[in-house]
Structures are given as structure tokens and as C-alpha cells.
């Protein structure tokens, strides 16, 4: 790859380029965005963005103390001033779309409002500066926050026991399946397979594999739901559990959930519920009541902790009494005097899944969200999330094909079948949505729908924002018929458009390096790393 092709962006598109619209874009206008290079390209020796406190102990001779272990220099770490740092990251931030800018209807991701009071309370000094090993007597406040959150989440899910230790949803799945395994092992046979519907998230089969289980696929029926007859055929004494997302990834509640649980339980297998879609259920129904034995929650979905560009998350696991003794250590317990303590003495535990107690800062934020809502607010939140998804469904089902007519809860999945006849695919519609000022929905998932458009508006959208989204989607449907090139070439008004992903994967450039020149001096340019030898 030639370095000259890696020139810096020259601004938002070509100003002379026409990007016609069949109607009016209500939500956005184009505006100037700042160019900004890599921080390394701004570095110059001697610039500083720090000043340390005066050292109040004698200086030491690092070479004498460290000998061969002394580091000579810090290579290419940048040297820049504070104002440059503020501008650098502020400029970068303006290149992102975010919930704070508008609707972010990624199906299965629950991109809801992230309340600012959550951020505020998580940064209170006594919380933000608490060391995980400080004495329990001096941690009662921190532990009480965990305890209160645990009690709330157990009540919300209808479960008996909980661990907050898993760091994200997939980590929660891992923990939950370890509980399943420990349970079966305690009965003499850990069993060998996990059933997973074809509509499941990729994390489900990946989790089963790292827990040492074989994955057995379960086909969905014509309504996008678990096929009970097929389930009955597949479940046997080697089935450890069914991992089921409910409502499913097409937003459908498994109305025969209790029968599914019965089929599993009759063979001694357990029902694992992937709680990714819990935003459809909170305050309306409880997994513990309808037969789930173990489940994880995503605090960064249902309970409003920020996604932060991909993390951190938090994936508490709730379970029934039969699995409690296998929970990761330590377990938080309340002593008779009302104080809290961590119990490390749990010989049947599956072990630790993460150091310390989990992504604690997310517990604080999730609890702040629960307190802000109360029982009435949580129920109204769920109702609004379901109302929004059904409103989008009702307003778009005449222009986009609805492959499953089954009533849906918090999300709706269309297919691009009608637009695809004209060569316009779900990925193209998604990219065109960017020009209308919205983040795309989830594309091409779940895999049981060909060319899926998976839309989850969440409760955080007003009717006005939804109407603008619906309007944009309808305009794009018309464009697909009348002027498909504007869809196929989209997005037109972003800083960059349709990245060359093939080149990125073929010759990965995963870090910046100064390019050596013939004279031996270094220039600031991206150079491709040497081709990776495959393993």
C-alpha cells in the first residue's frame, strides 16, 4: 500500500457534489467539521501538558536502583501542550455520532439516554477514590451500594441470588454457563452440549465453546420462535442448557416459555436466559417467574450505563437457589449486626471470573438509574420502549417487508427484500440513514432474516424524533425505487465514506510509525506494517 494514498481527510465530502433527496431532511444540515491529524503528528520535543508537584523526598539515582532494568526512553509517546490535547480530543469527538445527538436505533444494543446524575455520583470522592482492598469497615458505603443494587436486580428478575462480578454481557454468559456446568458436575455429569437457537447473538456459541461445551443449533419456527417439537427431539441427558434470548432477537416474546422450561427441566437441563433484551420486560414480567434458571443482565443496555464507544459494560448474573452455592467468590453477605462483608469461603464456587468485585463504577450508575425511576418509572420506561418500537413498525411496514408478523415488543426487524430487488441492500439503507442524521439500525442480524434491518428505538425517543426517523426511512425507500445511486453511494456528507475494509484486513496497519526517509530522518506518515504471518 502506497503511503501517499493515506492522505489526511480534506473535509466533509466534495462541496460541489450534489446529494439529492426526494424530500426534506428535517433533522440535519451540513456544517463545517475540523480536520485533525494524529496526536503523534503534532508532537514536538520540549512541549509539555503537565507539571508535577515538587518532590518532597530526596532524589534517587534510577540507574543505581534499577540497573539493567532501567528504561532508556519512551519512544514515540507524544509531546504536546494542554490546549492542543483539549482541541485534539474535542475535534475527534465531533466526528462521532452519539445518543446525545439523536436517535441511535441499534437493535439489541439498547442505546438509551445515559443520565448525567449517574456520572456525577460515580465521581464522588468517597466512591471514585475507594481502593478495593481498603478495610471492609471503611468500605461499608461502597458495599451497601452493591447490596442495594443486588436486591433491586434480584427483585426485577425474580431470581434468588446474584453476582455482580462479570465485566460485560459475554462475561456474564461465561459465568452463567460455568454455574450450569458446576451444577451438572455436582450431580455427577457436567453434560456435553448447549442448545442455541439460530437467532442467537454470536457471543452465545462462543461462550459455550470456552466453557467446554459443544454447540447444538436449534432452528426457529415460521414465527421466529423456538420450535417446541424440535426442542423436545434435541433435548436429552447430555443437554446442559438452552441459551435463549427472550424476547428473541426479532423482538418476539417466547409465549410458550414455560413449556420450553418444562421440556428442559424434564431432562434435567437448565434454561439460561440471555438478558440482552431485558429492556422489553422490566416491571412487566420476571424471568424467574416464567422458568429461567440463570440469566445475565447488561447494565450498559437496560440500566443506562454509558456504552462509551464500546465499553465498559457490566454483566451481573442472576440465578435460582439451586445455583447459588456455585457463584463466583467473593459473595457479599450481610452479618447479623447489619454490616456487610465479603465471604471468600465458598468451596463449591466456580471460582473468580474477574479481580476485585467487578466493574463497580457501573453498579453506582445502574443503581442511580433505578432510584431515579422507582417501580413506576421502570414500568413506564418498558412500556414506552415497546410503544416506540411498535409505532415504528406500524409506520414502516407498508414500505419495508416484515418477515415475521408475530407481535413484537421492544424492537422490530424488517427485511430488505423489496429494496434488494433493485440492488439496494440493508447496509446501503443504513449508510444512507447517516445522511439523514441518524445512526443506522443493526444490519444483517439476526441471521434468520435475510438482509435484516433491526430497529430498537428505546424509550428515550420522543414522538418528534421518531417521526423524523420514519420520514427518513420512507424517503430512503423512495430513493431506492427512484434514484438508487444516491443510496448506493451514501453516506455523502460525512468526513469519510465507505472505508476500504478489505485493504485494512489484508495489510493491517494497527499502529502509527514515523516513516524512515532516504536521508535517515523521519517523516510523519503512516506506513503499513509488514504483512502478518498467519497462525
Amino acid at each position: 500500500m502506497a503511503t501517499e494514498t493515506l492522505k489526511a481527510p480534506d473535509g466533509a465530502g466534495n462541496p460541489t457534489q450534489k446529494t439529492p433527496y426526494v424530500g426534506v431532511r428535517h433533522k440535519v444540515s451540513s456544517h463545517i467539521s475540523q480536520n485533525e491529524g494524529l496526536i503523534f503528528e503534532k508532537s514536538s520535543p520540549g512541549k509539555k501538558a503537565y507539571r508535577l508537584s515538587q518532590l518532597d523526598v530526596p532524589e534517587v539515582d534510577a540507574r543505581a536502583l534499577l540497573g539493567d532494568s532501567l528504561r532508556e526512553d519512551l519512544g514515540l509517546l507524544p509531546e504536546v501542550s494542554e490546549i492542543e490535547i483539549v482541541r485534539h480530543f474535542t475535534r475527534l469527538s465531533t466526528w462521532n455520532y452519539a445518543i446525545d445527538l439523536g436517535m441511535y436505533p441499534l437493535g439489541s444494543c439498547t442505546m438509551k439516554y445515559n443520565p448525567r446524575v449517574n456520572e456525577f455520583v460515580a465521581r464522588l470522592a468517597g466512591i471514585a477514590e475507594a481502593h478495593p482492598y481498603q478495610p471492609e469497615a471503611l468500605s461499608q458505603g461502597a458495599m451497601r451500594i452493591m447490596w442495594t443494587l443486588q436486591e433491586c436486580l434480584k427483585e426485577i428478575t425474580g431470581m434468588d441470588a446474584i453476582t455482580l462480578q462479570p465485566a460485560a454481557g459475554a462475561h456474564g454468559e461465561f459465568t452463567g454457563i460455568l454455574l450450569v456446568r458446576a451444577y451438572h458436575a455436582s450431580k455427577g455429569n457436567p453434560r456435553s452440549k448447549i442448545l442455541i437457537p439460530d437467532s442467537a447473538h454470536g457471543t452465545n456459541p462462543a461462550t459455550a465453546a470456552i466453557c467446554g461445551y459443544q454447540v447444538q443449533n436449534l432452528k426457529s419456527n415460521s414465527r421466529g420462535m423456538v420450535d417446541l417439537a424440535e426442542l423436545e427431539q434435541l433435548v436429552d441427558e447430555e443437554t446442559a442448557a438452552l441459551m435463549l434470548t427472550n424476547p428473541s432477537t426479532i423482538g418476539v416474546f417466547e409465549s410458550e416459555i414455560h413449556k420450553i422450561a418444562d421440556v428442559l427441566h424434564a431432562k434435567g437441563a437448565l434454561l439460561y436466559m440471555d438478558g440482552a433484551n431485558m429492556n422489553a420486560l422490566v416491571g412487566k414480567t420476571r424471568p424467574g417467574d416464567f422458568g429461567a434458571d440463570v440469566m445475565h443482565l447488561n447494565l450498559h443496555k437496560t440500566f443506562s450505563t454509558p456504552h462509551g464507544g464500546g465499553g465498559p459494560g457490566s454483566g451481573p448474573v442472576c440465578c435460582k437457589k439451586i445455583l447459588e452455592r456455585f457463584l463466583p467468590t467473593p459473595v457479599l453477605v450481610e452479618k447479623p449486626d447489619g454490616t456487610l462483608t465479603f465471604d471468600y469461603d465458598n468451596p463449591q464456587s466456580v471460582g473468580r471470573v474477574r479481580m476485585f468485585y467487578g466493574n463497580y463504577g457501573m453498579f453506582v450508575r445502574a443503581l442511580a438509574y433505578i432510584l431515579a425511576n422507582g417501580p413506576d418509572g421502570l414500568r413506564q420506561t418498558t412500556e414506552d420502549a415497546v410503544l416506540n418500537a411498535n409505532y415504528v413498525r406500524a409506520k414502516l411496514e407498508d414500505v419495508y417487508e416484515l418477515p415475521y408478523k408475530t407481535p413484537t415488543l421492544h424492537e422490530v426487524v424488517f427485511s430488505d427484500r423489496r429494496q434488494a430487488r433493485n440492488g439496494v441492500k440493508t447496509g446501503d439503507i443504513a449508510k444512507r440513514l447517516i445522511d439523514y442524521g441518524f445512526h443506522p439500525y443493526t444490519t444483517s442480524f439476526p441471521m434468520i432474516v435475510s438482509g435484516a434491518l433491526m430497529i430498537e428505538p428505546t424509550e428515550s425517543e420522543s414522538k418528534e424524533e421518531l417521526d423524523q426517523f420514519i420520514d427518513a426511512m420512507r424517503q430512503i425507500a423512495r430513493e431506492a425505487e427512484e434514484n438508487r445511486d444516491v443510496v448506493l453511494g451514501a453516506p455523502w456528507e460525512t468526513r469519510v465514506s465507505r472505508m476500504d475494509e478489505t485493504a485494512a484486513a489484508r495489510k493491517p496497519v494497527l499502529r502509527w510509525k514515523p516513516e524512515p526517509t532516504a536521508s535517515g530522518a523521519e517523516t510523519d506518515a503512516l506506513v503499513p506494517a509488514s504483512p502478518a504471518q498467519e497462525y
Partner: protein, 452 residues
């Protein structure tokens, strides 16, 4: 409810458009016997002021206002205010994983810069976009080494953080991995003779930590040679990332698994932190987690994308390199900003201050009657093991009465060190605090003993 942007009239209008008579009609697929007919039994809805008061009260019950000498995997370092000012921008805070590159270039470029800085810090050729934390990152590194070598024996130093080792045990148990533990010598470093005996031509990897759990810097080059002579990979875990400001990076390692909490991430009672994995480039296709790469768009403009995703669960499902999906992106951004603020010269200066403070503290505390610095001749960064005349529990109780949180007692993990505790001294500890702690140890009030 103040987060919900709808009036009753909006709701009624929307229900009418849908053609539903009531909101409950939309939930009709949930069998009625499972529908909750009561309020959840959780605290009532609170106003913002009540929420803040609730958490203020909880915060006051923690060790706020105490001097602390705790480290052991969670480090007290000053966080420049610019970090939160920038990381709290809504465009970073409230965006998702940057799958849509056109409207995620901010996050993508920041990750690319983060990956570059981690490579520079660790001496590795590539780094990923983050792992959950140092403990799970080490376990993932071990699983990666097993895939690369096709072997299943793993050798682990018992000077790796005990909780990292516990997490590794949890992960390894169903991977068919056989774990051998190697002890430490009188110098607090990995016992090389024991290591040599443990490493065989069936060994996938050797996992060490440096600086290790005792704060002692390992002889990475010697351990690497030993591992490599049997075809095993060397994984170096780093819990105190700031050490790399002055300690030579473990360039001889094949994989480095680092906890970057030291670099601008609040202690926050144990999380969220920022694991990151770095390695030699040839292992890139066995690397777990997300990777950001540079490329160009259709007009030739530079930009960044998530790449090599065929390693990941959303493509490969049960054959993926890991089940990880959500990572620690926002925390990685904090780390990236931190490394930018201190940069090439500041990281060195700050590390040098830690070295000086810890050196002063080690000698001041060891000079108190009955106290002794263990592994005294080995190179260290900002932690050290102190043996005291009385049990650490007794010593710490005396310190607590003076609003000082003393070192972490080690006997729970190392019963052979009954009176030892692990002390960490950073730029956040003043000489006054160190002298006050020494005063308690000497069972008399300050002034402390003369500095040796």
C-alpha cells in the same frame, strides 16, 4: 418520569396509530399468568437531589480522607482534570462500538492512537483496543498462547497477582490446560532453577508478572530465553503500568497483558479498569478483542476501521478467538488522554518520582524497630514488602487510628510470609504521610527516624 420524552397525549396518539386500545395490548404475547400485576418491590422514585444525597451518604462511609499505602493491582495516581473533561463529552460517552466507521472516526482514531501508545509503552508490535482488565486479559493471553503453540501445559509464577491466578484457574479449567506453579527465590524473583525444571517441550507458555506481586522487577530476558529454548511463549503481565515510565519494557516477551488502570483511571473500588493485550505481530490472527486499523475511503482519504473481525464472535461464533464483545473503550480513551498529557518526558518524570518516594518510604519504614525490608537487593518500582515485628493486622489497626491505611497483609496468599505486608508509595503519598506511618510503626509520634 423525567427521562421519558413523551406527554400522555403523545402516547395516546401513538397507540391510536398502532391501532392498539391500550398499552397492555402490546404486551399480550406475555402469558397473563407471568405478567406482573404489582409494583416491583424496589425503592420509590427519587428526585435528583435525593439521589445525590443517597450516594453522598454512602461515600462518606468509605475511607475518604485517609492516607493510603495500598497498591496490589489498583494504584493511586493523580488524574489530571482534562481527562474527565474530555472523556465526558457526550460524543465519546454515549456512542456505541464504532462499527459504522463514517460516524465513528473520533473513537476509531483515538483507539488507533491508544494502540500505538501501548505498543510504545510495552515494546510490542501490536496492541488491541482493550480487554476487560488485567486479570481476564492474562487468562485470555494464556488461551491465545495455547492456540498459537498447539500445546496445553502452562507454567505460572506464583508472584503473579493472586487474583489474576484465580481468574486464570477459572478460565483454564475447561480448556484442558494443565497448570504448573513456580515459586520465588530469596530475592523475590521467579526461581529460575524451578522454572527450568517446569518448562518442557509441552509447555505452551510461561506467565510472569513484572514488576511482580511483591513489587520486584523480574529478569525478563533470562526467563524469555528459558521459555523460548523449549518453544514456549513468554507472557508478561503488568499490573502497574506506570512502571513502564522508567522500567525497561519486556520486549523479549511474546505477549504482554497489561492493566492500564494506573494511567488515568479512578480506583473506583476495583473497576471499571482497562486491560489491554499487546504482542508480536505474527500472532495477530490469534489475538482476542477488537483491533482498529488505518485504511482509506473510496476517495482515498485516511480513516480508521475495526479490522480482522473474522477472529471475533459475531462472525466466527463458537470458533472465535474469544467470546469478548463489549470491552473497556471509554477507559482506554482515558488512558490515551493520560499518556498524551504526560507524554514522553512526563511519564519518565512521574515514574522517577514514584521510584524516589517508594525508596524513601522503604528505608524509612524498614528503619523502625523490628521492621525489615524483604527482597531488599532486588530492583523494585513503587511497591515493596515490609516485614514487621507484630502481625500486619495489629500494625494496621494502629495505623488506622491515625487515619492511615497501611500495607496489604500477604499471609492470606503467602502463608510463609506471616508478618509481611505489601506497601505501595506513589506521587500521591507525601513525605509527611510516610513519616507519620513510620512514627506509628516505631510506636512513637513523629518526627520519624532519620532517613538512611
Amino acid at each position: 418520569m423525567r427521562y421519558l420524552p413523551k406527554s400522555p397525549a403523545d402516547r395516546a396518539a401513538m397507540l391510536a396509530e398502532i391501532g392498539a386500545a391500550s398499552i397492555d395490548e402490546l404486551f399480550s404475547t406475555i402469558p397473563s399468568e407471568y405478567r406482573l400485576a404489582r409494583d416491583l418491590n424496589i425503592p420509590r422514585q427519587m428526585g435528583e437531589q435525593e439521589i445525590v444525597e443517597f450516594f453522598r451518604k454512602a461515600a462518606e462511609q468509605n475511607a475518604d480522607g485517609y492516607a493510603s499505602f495500598l497498591g496490589a493491582g489498583a494504584y493511586r495516581h493523580y488524574r489530571p482534570v482534562v481527562i474527565d473533561a474530555l472523556a465526558q463529552r457526550g460524543e465519546f460517552l454515549t456512542s456505541y462500538t464504532p462499527y459504522q466507521a463514517e460516524i465513528s472516526q473520533g473513537t476509531l482514531q483515538a483507539i488507533f492512537e491508544f494502540q500505538t501508545m501501548i505498543c510504545e509503552m510495552t515494546g510490542m508490535e501490536i496492541a488491541n483496543a482493550s480487554m476487560y482488565d488485567g486479570s481476564t486479559g492474562s487468562a485470555e493471553a494464556v488461551m491465545m498462547a495455547a492456540r498459537v503453540t498447539g500445546r496445553s501445559d502452562i507454567v505460572v509464577a506464583n508472584t503473579v497477582h493472586p487474583e489474576y491466578r484465580e481468574v486464570l484457574t477459572t478460565y483454564a479449567q475447561h480448556q484442558g490446560l494443565l497448570k504448573r506453579i513456580v515459586g520465588y527465590g530469596a530475592d523475590g524473583r521467579v526461581d529460575l532453577a524451578e522454572l527450568e525444571a517446569a518448562v518442557t517441550d509441552q509447555t505452551a507458555c510461561v506467565l510472569i508478572q513484572s514488576p511482580n506481586f511483591f513489587g520486584v522487577i523480574e529478569d525478563v530476558a533470562a526467563i524469555a530465553e528459558l521459555a523460548h529454548s523449549k518453544g514456549a511463549l513468554l507472557i508478561v503481565s503488568i499490573a502497574e503500568a506506570l512502571s513502564l515510565g522508567i522500567v525497561r519494557p519486556p520486549a523479549e516477551a511474546d505477549i504482554v497483558s497489561m492493566e492500564a488502570q494506573s494511567l488515568g483511571v479512578p480506583l473506583g473500588y476495583g473497576g471499571p479498569y482497562c486491560g489491554v493485550m499487546a504482542s508480536k505481530e505474527k500472532f495477530v490472527r490469534q489475538m482476542p478483542g477488537r483491533l482498529t486499523g488505518a485504511t482509506v475511503d473510496k476517495q482515498g482519504r485516511r480513516g480508521f476501521v475495526l479490522t480482522l473481525s473474522t477472529r471475533e464472535q459475531h462472525i466466527r461464533r463458537e470458533k472465535a478467538t474469544s467470546n469478548i464483545c463489549t470491552n473497556q473503550a471509554l477507559v482506554a480513551l482515558m488512558t490515551c488522554i493520560y499518556l498524551t498529557i504526560y507524554g514522553r518526558s512526563g511519564m519518565r518524570e512521574l515514574a522517577q518520582q514514584n521510584l524516589a518516594k517508594a525508596h524513601y518510604a522503604a528505608h524509612t519504614l524498614a528503619a523502625t524497630p523490628g521492621s525489615k525490608l524483604l527482597f531488599a537487593k532486588s530492583p523494585r518500582f513503587n511497591e515493596f514488602v515490609l516485614s514487621t515485628a507484630e502481625a500486619p493486622a495489629t500494625v494496621n489497626a494502629q495505623l488506622l487510628s491515625q487515619k492511615i491505611v497501611g500495607g496489604l497483609p500477604l499471609a492470606q496468599w503467602y502463608p510463609e510470609l506471616p508478618n509481611a505486608s505489601l506497601w505501595c508509595v506513589t506521587e500521591q503519598n507525601s513525605r509527611e504521610q510516610i513519616d507519620a506511618a513510620a512514627g506509628v510503626l516505631a510506636a512513637k509520634k513523629a518526627p520519624a527516624l532519620a532517613y538512611a
